[in-house]
Symmetry: C2
Subunit: 203 residues, 2 copies
DNA sequence: GTCTATACCTTGATAGAC
DNA sequence: GTCTATCAAGGTATAGAC
């Protein structure tokens, strides 16, 4: 599961991961067989076991990889710094979340819908990463509340509500749809900001 | 699948539906076997086929039933009337959605997560019902915009965002958790209202 | 209407040749 | 590292007794 680059078989492993991600997203983990994955990659079913010990191992690798990438990508954003102005950080978070998820629709589907397909130890690994991501947003909101810039009696609840709203885009967004991605992003940035705006506060 | 009341076997059918709903919600449609469902009901696996022709038929019956109930329940609300004040209708919709979904967490899980497990004709049946529900909210928002009470450049997008936000509660809400249901409901009602509130508008 | 028994198929995973 | 062949288990659905 570790991504040892350079070796010959790693390219095959990457193609297996890619095929599995697409198939799991479309049909669900339990509904996809190792044979289907192998067939899409163009290898025999047995070959998968040279790269992953079990089907469960393949799944958890995808999910941990996705969540780890997500966290690392956000933490690399300038606005993720703890001293950023809350309003600017919140907007940056919304734009980041939308863009990252638009680029990885399949990974998002898998990571948010297959939690129940994980056995208990693996579930806790992924859950911890998901919590860490939610905590990033909760932190921004809490700082905004402390600074008097936001209204949010329960920052944790506001964070969960915002993430659900943003992630919901992946459920209906289609490239080439009626609205361009930039318009959708602007609409959501505005709605997110409104969610924590003090009623009589700044516009 | 039609709910012919009174006959003796209908009680068994209802218990099969209940067991299937719980199991599908917890483990996913594809991961649950007819044997497991039958075992939970306390009958043999073959007995299920006296009430449902296939596993797919059992699933689609649950989903169509849930969505139909949801639509009928909302349409029976006084505030669903087309001449209700938009702000009041929006609050009523939020409260209705939260309460209905809290009472039927398993059905919601199944109806929102197993769309991909439906074959094409069944998918379209359920999708049409889901669209109809979204349209109810979109209508409220559009009327609010027309009346100058709401700010929403794209009522359809606002409706999808609000529904995603509200439905997200089912992903983390647990009875007996830190916050009472009434508090959570109040927080979300406020966030929903904020989502479409004109920036310089009424508080 | 439910039971037991079973047909038939696909599953995840393994073994050994190359 | 990949292939083919294979195993044991479990899948949906059916048949016929009661």
């Amino acid at each position: 599961m570790a991504r040892q680059a350079g070796s010959k078989g790693e390219e095959t492993a990457a193609r297996i991961r890619a095929a599995a991600t697409g198939l799991f997203a479309r049909h669900g983990y339990a509904a996809v067989s190792m044979r289907e994955i192998a067939s899409e990659v163009g290898v025999g079913a047995g070959a998968i076991y040279n790269h992953f010990t079990t089907k469960q191992d393949l799944l958890v690798g995808l999910m941990v990889g996705h969540m780890t990438d997500l966290l690392a990508a956000w933490d690399a954003e300038p606005m993720a710094a703890a001293d950023a102005f809350p309003a600017a950080a919140l907007e940056a978070f919304a734009r980041f979340h939308i863009r990252f998820h638009r680029q990885r629709i399949d990974e998002v589907f898998v990571s948010y819908m297959e939690l129940r397909s994980l056995d208990q130890p693996n579930f806790h690994r992924v859950e911890r990463l998901r919590r860490a991501y939610e905590d990033r947003l909760e932190g921004i909101i809490a700082r905004g509340v402390a600074a008097g810039a936001f209204h949010a009696p329960e920052p944790k609840v506001a964070a969960l509500a915002i993430i659900a709203m943003l992630t919901g885009i992946t459920g209906w967004y289609r490239q080439g749809g009626r609205l361009p991605a930039s318009t959708i992003e602007a609409l959501y940035v505005e709605m997110v900001a409104a969610t924590v705006r003090p009623k009589g506060g700044p516009d």
